[in-house]
Symmetry: C2
Subunit: 348 residues, 2 copies
Amino acid sequence: MRMEGPERRYAILAEGRFTDGNAKTAHGLIRYGKDEIVCVIDSKLAGKTVRSTMPHLERDAPIVASFAEALEHSPTSILVGVAPAGGKLPMEWMELLRSAADSGVEIVSGLHQRLAPEFPGANVWDVREPPEELPLFSGEGFDVEPKVALTVGTSAAIGKMTASLEIERAARKSGLSTEFAATGQTGIVIAGWGISVDAVVSDFIAGASEQLVLEAAKTSPDLILVEGQGSLGHPAYSGVTLGLLHGSCPDAIILCADASTDAIMAGVPRPKPSLAARLYEEVAALVKPAPVVAVSVNTRGLSDEEANSFVAKISSETGLPAADPFRGSAAPILDAVSKAPKAKPLRV
Amino acid sequence: MRMEGPERRYAILAEGRFTDGNAKTAHGLIRYGKDEIVCVIDSKLAGKTVRSTMPHLERDAPIVASFAEALEHSPTSILVGVAPAGGKLPMEWMELLRSAADSGVEIVSGLHQRLAPEFPGANVWDVREPPEELPLFSGEGFDVEPKVALTVGTSAAIGKMTASLEIERAARKSGLSTEFAATGQTGIVIAGWGISVDAVVSDFIAGASEQLVLEAAKTSPDLILVEGQGSLGHPAYSGVTLGLLHGSCPDAIILCADASTDAIMAGVPRPKPSLAARLYEEVAALVKPAPVVAVSVNTRGLSDEEANSFVAKISSETGLPAADPFRGSAAPILDAVSKAPKAKPLRV
């Protein structure tokens, strides 16, 4: 499950969409990844740079128009960093990726559609493809030594991955060793390993989550940060959420919330953070008690003043430390995680 | 998803294991199935009958020693009614099934191992194989007209399928039209259709559950009984449980409990029925509120007196009607389901 070998040097294919809000995987890799980024391919922005178009990504790289130009930067790998507009890969992308394969460049894809069968003989990493042999949940995860912290959300797509990664950054800054256990395609590309838990057969959600934590524990880090998925209240994904909650055996839970009052989906209102926190704790406690120790608040779209006041409101309503780790600092959340004791399983 | 065509005439392959506790699918089909049972194949019991060896199955059929003998009873289908001891099908079974295929008899299997690839060209129904194209949960299930009742459990393997089927029997006896929405291999063989929800990719648990209910609603029954899976507190299966709870959009929930005090698995105690009932309701209410209306108590192993007193105790602790529908009557549970109103989704 964990990738061996040297770090990658990525060219990122984001043709036509690098800045249009669809390049989550590309952006995640640039901001949080440990691998080198040699260039981005987007003919619309060719000649510009990452920093000049997306300053919050923090790293810089040239934007080029074609794979031929990208090749001059000696990539080891090309990331399909955006989903194609129609769902299916356009012919030009297929040709580009074939050129990459012919040049010995590894193709890395987080798409639902698997690319390995499209490029026989090429070096393809289909990030969403789960390991072939997964065990059922065994309970071995109860005995993991490092502290495990899981992000959960009042809704899906609320910033759980970002919260985990910002807390990881803060932890490293404060001298803690960490492992990020990635559970979705963007997280996996960033970490270089992981399991897309929503792509495994249902019976093995918890088993896959447990295996991730066992794998992360092998380096004996001070802290394992598990990327959450979905939401206990999102009907389409709640099964994945709960399997991950039980399977990863966390010691501390970080609730992710935002300022939106939109329904989770038609007919399903967002639960209040206080209700969500209580239910996550109660459901976790059926298997292994773990407290919700802090709220990570996504304040995107608010002014600084509105954001501060919203974070304070959430903190007061839940009685928990709260912060927006992206806008401000993850330190208050990390502090709450650090103070939480290693949770004891129920068994004697 | 629903099978077309005439009813099956089953020969049941239960070689050496018909009475040893491993023939759950065979027994379920005999007791609850609508298809005809022409014979059981178990050479150890050849010459006896189903009723003489397993009277609680209620239906009778001869037990024969070989497929050649079974063929004299003109089966349309042969059910692999027990899992082989070592996990893998022994050579003799493979040969027997090949004879069946050569005779034009359909092979029906609920095994994890798919049999279709083993018998190319044969008519094979791998019951656990999910439909190829499943949608995500859409919310269409919120608008289903018939009342939907789901069984859930304080633990896994506690009798949820049996409870659903006994309630269905009681409902039919009282003149209600019903559909049984099967979610596991035995239930699917019994019903002749369904989806093994633990075999679908995690992202589609709720979508598959919703599709089942939409399909069951097509005949406009008075009541849809959805077979529950796993348990909210069983770490290996809780994801499937919750996806099914949210995806099937029930109006009424029936909690299945038993007298065991065994741990769910090492380190994970059984929750009290009162706690389980409250948590099922609270978690369901995140998506669509539905009450736990009754407790179906599995009193296997208790004397009649012990059973009565245990059922009374559960009823008193939970404040809900309780009954063992297998030992006694499902009427009290059906009554509670009938009294529950069609639940309203949260949306206006």
